[in-house]
């Protein structure tokens, strides 16, 4: 009952902020989800085949459904929408099968900074409306990490890897270990591969093996040997990254702290205001924090810059009530559709259960 009352209040408030209610399809064509994201989503898809042999699935995520709706409806103008419903995911924990949410999104932003601010401001209004007096608002920005990585003296392929696996905390730390020690390189195999390389160079470049041409294998191999990973720069870079990911402070102090960090390592980066799209940081009872690791470890790998979460305490336990951010690359990189700049947030209704 409490959940229903609160969700009605939240819906009314979001509507009053100029967002339009939309209905999302519960069943999606699996191909949109699997074509680009590969097997990653399959692990939690409830999928089945219709009588024409097409694979369909229950929506695994509401943001994805809303992006598909926007893209497939040939929409190009700015749109502010909200919706409510459940996402369905396979899980061994019964509690996690139904994810009940209220979501709001702004598609095709013209002024991204302004829209980011609007999403977080509306989220804070939702928080107040539902009676939570105290909360912690944590802000992060993935772009800051990208900027840092691009400044490091490591091969480009390693930069790409670190950026790609930023969200996967466990695997990321394994990568840092490799970067630190070069422990994954076996000189014996490297020598053997070089012999094979010289042999392959003499062969017809378009010759195919297991779906790849000799030409592309050789090209990638040459790129690797011409841009080697050095133990010294690997170690230094790993140290800088580890230190960066520990930065956590009040939002007010964030620019100062970050700029001091960049200066310490001569990285030639300076942080400006647009990284912190907040106009409400003077609110009492809300603790505004900045973290360089915000969102890591959660399944949010589609966020591309600004990211936030609002945590509340319920019966002594800290729970994330609202979370969101900007995800400009979700449609193009994960769903194989055109690029749609977007920002959004989801209210987690499970906190009432």
């Amino acid at each position: 009952m409490k959940s229903k009352n609160s969700s009605n209040k939240i819906l009314a408030l979001i509507k009053s902020q100029g967002f339009n209610k939309i209905e999302l399809d519960s069943v999606l064509e699996t191909k949109y989800i699997l074509q680009r994201s590969g097997e990653n989503f399959r692990k939690y898809l409830f999928s089945f085949y219709n009588s024409n042999g097409e694979e369909l699935c229950l929506r695994p995520d509401l943001t994805i459904s809303s992006v598909l709706r926007y893209a497939q409806g040939n929409r190009f103008n700015k749109e502010k929408v909200f919706y409510t419903g459940s996402a369905f995911r396979k899980s061994y924990n019964k509690k996690n099968i139904l994810i009940k949410q209220i979501g709001m999104e702004i598609f095709s932003s013209k002024d991204e900074n302004k829209d980011d601010r609007e999403i977080i401001d509306t989220s804070i209004k939702v928080l107040k409306k539902t009676g939570f007096k105290k909360a912690k608002v944590e802000i992060g920005n993935f772009k800051l990490f990208e900027l840092l990585i691009q400044k490091l003296s490591i091969p480009q392929r390693w930069k790409n890897r670190l950026i790609k696996f930023y969200w996967n905390k466990e695997y990321f730390s394994q990568l840092l270990k490799r970067l630190d020690s070069n422990s994954d390189i076996d000189p014996f195999i490297v020598a053997g591969d070089h012999k094979t390389y010289l042999k392959m160079k003499k062969e017809y470049p378009k010759k195919m093996i297991a779906g790849r041409t000799y030409e592309e294998i050789i090209e990638r191999y040459e790129r690797k040997i011409n841009d080697p990973r050095l133990t010294k720069t690997g170690k230094t870079s790993s140290k800088i990254i580890k230190e960066f990911l520990k930065i956590k402070c009040s939002l007010k102090d964030a620019p100062k702290k970050l700029n001091a960090f960049y200066k310490k390592y001569n990285l030639n980066i300076s942080v400006a205001k647009e990284f912190f799209p907040i106009s409400t940081s003077n609110q009492k009872d809300l603790k505004f924090e900045f973290s360089t690791s915000s969102g890591r470890g959660r399944e949010v790998e589609f966020y591309s810059s600004f990211i936030f979460s609002i945590d509340v305490k319920i019966k002594g336990k800290t729970k994330t009530f609202i979370a969101g951010g900007r995800y400009n690359d979700l449609s193009s990189k994960k769903l194989g559709l055109r690029k749609i700049p977007a920002v959004g947030a989801a209210v987690n209704l499970a906190v009432y259960e």
Partner: protein, 229 residues
């Protein structure tokens, strides 16, 4: 199945069969078949309450889960590959000292630019971009392979289920790479494949397994103790 009889499943052919029979013999369980060499059901001399069934290694896992057999000797790899609902009905009683093998990812030796799963991830992404298709991985172990690759951040692939001769799949272009079980690595080498440096998915060996559905069956615990010595 007769409730008073303890059914033991062992592999019906090959080295696993020989080694499993040795274990029975070592524990004074002398088996014989009334249907000759091809008989798939055996009795145990002097132990009327025990029956030995010769099954496929995967079938042993399924039958243990259903409670149709009470004890079995099969591979740890096959247990881990089975669905979670099957695994939760089976207990590993003892890891035995035979049937050692490693499930690992391997590529053609010509893939000199693919050394780790990180390289594989990048090649998979390039391949998807150029060909608008996902790379194919051939395996008899889709569940273990999928999980291992997710953990290493590789997601741009599809699994092609292999029914045998997995090592041949890259040469036939059925798959770009394989994930296969190997005990010495010789078959892989002979087929011009080399494992990825971080491509190990699971270390396996033969195991004595029991069905959780048979826990209270008369005489079963004694038999488990005997085998576990």
């Amino acid at each position: 199945m007769n409730k008073d009889i303890i059914n033991i499943g062992i592999v019906s052919k090959g080295r696993l069969k020989e080694e499993s029979e040795k274990i029975l013999k070592k524990n004074n369980l002398k088996i014989y078949t009334e249907d000759g060499e091809r008989g798939l059901v055996a009795k145990v001399k002097g132990r009327k309450n025990i029956r030995v069934l010769f099954l496929h290694a995967r079938e042993i896992i399924d039958q243990l889960s259903l409670g149709n057999i009470d004890l079995g000797i099969s591979g740890f790899d096959l247990l881990k590959e089975s669905e979670i609902n099957i695994q939760k009905n089976i207990k590993v009683e003892k890891k035995l000292k035979f049937g050692f093998a490693t499930l690992q990812l391997a590529v053609r030796k010509e893939f000199i630019d693919v050394f780790t799963t990180l390289d594989l991830d990048e090649v998979a992404e390039d391949y998807r971009r150029k060909n608008k298709k996902l790379i194919r991985i051939g395996t008899k172990y889709p569940n273990l392979t999928r999980d291992a690759l997710y953990k290493r951040g590789v997601t741009n692939f599809t699994i092609v289920k292999s029914l045998g001769s997995t090592e041949l799949m890259p040469a036939m272009d059925t798959a770009m790479l394989i994930s296969d079980i190997s005990s010495t690595g010789t078959t892989m080498k002979k087929n011009h494949l080399r494992p990825l440096s971080d491509g190990e998915i699971l270390k396996s060996q033969a195991c004595l397994l029991s069905s959780k559905k048979s826990k209270s069956k008369k005489g079963l615990q004694g038999l488990i103790k005997l085998f576990s010595k």
